[in-house]
């Protein structure tokens, strides 16, 4: 028993030392690893001490208690009688009871309506982005781009000018190498540069990876792969629809502009997607 007591006291002693230690470390400026270890010893010492105490000193598990295999139901008739007795005046006045139920129900229905204030009406918001005819394609820093500023096999994320960082308008400009015919209508591309929505049509992550030797876009979230020369058609993974293409052209200064908004909703599907 002495050895048991010694161990228990050692555990509590280590805990006390660690508690003092962590206050000192904290006062000196703190350091996460040391704080963690000392707090761990402070708490763990108490844990170990208590367990040792329980095992070696306290009475063990040699007690027995009776239990009801099935809970006693002796009072059920009394409960039923009390309830019916109390419900009797209510049952006699049907109309009042019904009116009460009706007022509670309608109040409940009315109380649900403030939920509508939580957000805007979806309407057709999901069908449009911020791209409009004539808006320049700019980087996140607001820099517009010229075609010859993009080497073949380069990719850059762009937004409509004035909407940098806009989540639904994020678009990839890709300059395809010379031998590849750009996909989509002829007047939607400029000198081998094509534009596709960056929002994956599966679950909405940005399709950030581009592989130049096969011209494929890859989404890191669930591994959907889109083939750019085939109009960003999905070739692997759970995505079912191609990335929408943005019609682009050049303005008078030679900067890349959008010719219109996307002609279909960007991003993942939903019930009434047109």
């Amino acid at each position: 028993m002495n050895r048991g007591r010694g161990l228990i006291l050692a555990a509590f002693g280590a805990s006390m030392a660690a508690s003092i230690g962590v206050t000192v470390v904290y006062a000196l400026g703190g350091q996460p690893q040391i704080e963690g270890v000392l707090l761990g010893v402070a708490l763990g010492g108490i844990a170990v001490g208590l367990v040792l105490f329980g095992h070696r000193v306290l009475p063990g598990g040699h007690f027995v208690q009776a239990r009801d295999v099935v809970p006693p139901t002796t009072q059920r008739p009394e409960v039923a009688a009390s309830f019916e007795e109390g419900a009797e005046p209510i049952e006699r006045r049907r109309l009042i009871a019904t009116a009460f139920a009706g007022s509670v129900a309608l109040l409940g229905a009315a109380a649900v309506f403030p939920i509508r204030s939580l957000g805007t009406r979806p309407g057709r918001q999901l069908d449009h982005t911020s791209w409009r005819r004539g808006l320049r394609a700019v980087t996140n820093a607001g820099r517009p781009l010229r075609v010859d500023g993009l080497d073949p096999d380069s990719v850059v994320t762009v937004f409509p000018e004035g909407h940098e960082g806009s989540a639904d308008s994020q678009t990839l400009l890709i300059r395809l190498p010379g031998g590849i015919t750009p996909p989509g209508p002829r007047d939607w591309t400029v000198n081998g540069v094509v534009a596709f929505s960056k929002i994956c049509t599966h679950a909405g992550c940005p399709v950030g990876l581009y592989q130049t030797d096969t011209q494929e876009l890859f989404c890191p979230c669930h591994q959907s792969t889109f083939s750019v020369p085939e109009g960003a058609r999905p070739t692997f993974g759970p995505a079912t629809r191609p990335l929408p293409q943005l019609p682009i052209g050049l303005d008078d200064d030679g900067f890349i502009i959008a010719l219109s908004d996307y002609t279909e909703p960007v991003g993942p599907g939903f019930w009434n997607r047109p």
Binding site: I46, F63, A167, A203, G208
Partner: protein
């Protein structure tokens, strides 16, 4: 001093009878019954560390400029939420330890909840009269998952922002009401400004309150119904054996609380988790590996990754691809969990109360189903790291994904069938331990027909062991109160009644209730 206080309270409220029954209450102390307690104390640690965090976290998406101690972000614009988390991690003493301990405690809570659920499932502890507690428990698991997800989404970093985008798309994919629910929940199109403050309210107020209430219900039911226990020579459906609450079980339970706290806070200092400063603030056009959510949502992520590109579009409406793995699969899994006690009672015809637990072999069909479901979820979990596996083994992501597409539907049922054979063989062989079972019994279990016939029915070897030589004695103790004792010389067991009685008759009545078939020998 304490006794004076206790007397003062008792004079005003009464309840000394309750106190006596509480102090002397018996708790079976098998180690597998403490898994739920790990979760319970993890929740307590979460609340304690969480309160600390709420003093520093700013649940606002208002733009600000970072001026704190992490160089690569200084001068960068970000939300107040993200700024407050990075500042807490770098510029507040003990802030990072608290934050990481909070995160690790969430892991230990959900991890031990899953182990606890598995223990309850495989031992049949959810059977009557504990179906209500099972429903409460499954709900607690769902709430814990929800709080875990909302919690790691609060810092508004790039990784959790991607997760929120995916969650938004999952909600969108729900037929008919999807767009409305998404717009109301998030306040509009993604990423509307409203979501972080709302997640904050859900995470610190609504869900923890619900968890606390349900934990109270869960514990109250266990208290009232008394805990189940494994069968043994001294165990009956009509009794419960173990240490008393005071002082032994309380001491162990308190020790477990300190141990949980110790483990998560040590990990909070030594092992880095969720380094949001590396991921950067959330920007909707940025993305990058790591692209997995926290592990407890990994099974959902894996389902989304390996599900083939199927979707339904008809009459101008569509149910898009993410709906099937992202909404249907979890509904089936949790629906199955909720319904299981009732399905099992229906199909086995066993609607009686059970206070003694099954061993896995006693109910091979249940065990097989459990193994199937568990392996399904685990395989989905592993599938979520398909890109990491490809990177590590220098293989193609497509190959790895295809392997999972085949393995996930095929392997779990096979494992389930194999488990069923193994369990029936184990039972039929009569071997006590797994290792003692002859191997050929697995291939051709002896007494197969008999084992099959008794599947699902009341297992033979659970309750009512022979009581040759066992006896009950009732005696008066030195303080004049009566106690009783159960003695089984064959197994060298001697158990005392947990409480004392005023009369000999009361003691004898309880003794007979606890051991209905054991002879009562009046002694002394």
């Amino acid at each position: 001093m304490i006794s004076r206080l206790a007397r003062w309270i008792d004079d005003r409220i009464g309840g000394s009878a309750f106190a006596e029954s509480a102090l002397s209450k018996v708790f079976p102390d098998h180690w597998s019954f403490m898994l739920g307690e790990i979760a319970l104390y993890s929740f307590v640690v979460l609340v304690v560390t969480g309160v600390f965090l709420t003093f520093f976290f700013d649940p606002s998406v208002a733009e600000t400029t970072y001026q704190g101690g992490y160089d690569p972000l200084r001068g960068e614009t970000m939300s107040e939420a993200y700024r407050s988390v990075v500042e807490l991690s770098f510029d507040v003493r003990a802030g990072l330890v608290m934050r990481q301990a909070h995160h690790w405690a969430a892991f230990t809570m959900i991890g031990s909840l899953v182990l606890h659920l598995l223990r309850v499932f495989f031992t049949g502890a959810f059977r009557r009269p504990r179906e209500i507690n099972w429903l409460v428990g499954v709900t607690l698991l769902i709430l814990a998952l929800a709080n875990g997800f909302t919690g790691y989404s609060l810092p508004d970093d790039l990784l959790s922002g991607m997760g929120l985008r995916i969650m938004y798309s999952l909600v969108l994919s729900v037929p008919v009401i999807g767009t409305w629910v998404a717009f109301l929940l998030f306040g509009g199109e993604f990423p509307d400004q409203e979501i972080i403050p709302r997640l904050f309210v859900i995470h610190i107020m609504i869900v923890p309150a619900a968890i606390a209430v349900l934990i109270a219900v869960h514990l109250a039911l266990i208290w009232h119904q008394k805990h189940t226990d494994y069968a043994g020579r001294d165990r009956r459906e009509s009794n419960v054996v173990g240490p008393k609450l005071w002082p032994t079980y309380a001491s162990f339970s308190l020790a477990l609380f300190f141990a949980v706290f110790a483990v998560v806070v040590t990990m909070g200092g030594l092992v880095q988790v969720n380094p949001v400063w590396l991921y950067g603030p959330f920007r909707p056009s940025e993305v990058g590996p790591p692209s997995q959510p926290d592990w407890f949502v990994g099974w959902l992520e894996g389902a989304l990754r390996i599900f083939p590109p199927w979707e339904i579009r008809a009459f101008g409406y569509e149910i898009p691809n993410p709906f099937y793995p992202g909404v249907l699969v979890p509904t089936v899994i949790f629906g199955g969990l909720y319904l299981w006690p009732f399905l099992e009672a229906r199909f086995t015809g066993d609607r009686g109360p059970h206070h003694l637990l099954d061993r896995a072999r006693d109910h091979p069909v249940r065990t097989a189903f459990g193994v199937t479901a568990l392996s399904f979820v685990v395989l989905l979990q592993v599938a979520a790291s398909n890109d990491l596996l490809a990177h590590g083994f220098d293989a193609s992501v497509a190959t790895i994904t295809w392997i999972f597409r085949i393995v996930v539907p095929v392997v779990p049922p096979l494992l389930g069938w194999f488990t069923y054979r193994l369990m029936t063989a184990l039972r039929a062989s009569g071997a006590e331990r797994f290792a003692e079972m002859p191997l050929r019994a697995v291939m051709r279990p002896a007494g197969d027909a008999e084992a099959l016939a008794s599947v699902g029915a009341e297992p033979a070897a659970v309750a009512g062991p022979t009581t040759d030589g066992a006896e009950l004695t009732v005696y008066a103790a030195a303080d004049g109160r009566w106690r009783w004792r159960y003695r089984d010389p064959a197994d060298d067991i001697e158990l005392d009644s947990n409480t004392s009685y005023v009369t000999e008759q009361l003691a004898a009545a309880d003794a007979r209730k606890a051991y209905p078939e054991t002879p009562l020998v009046r002694n002394r």
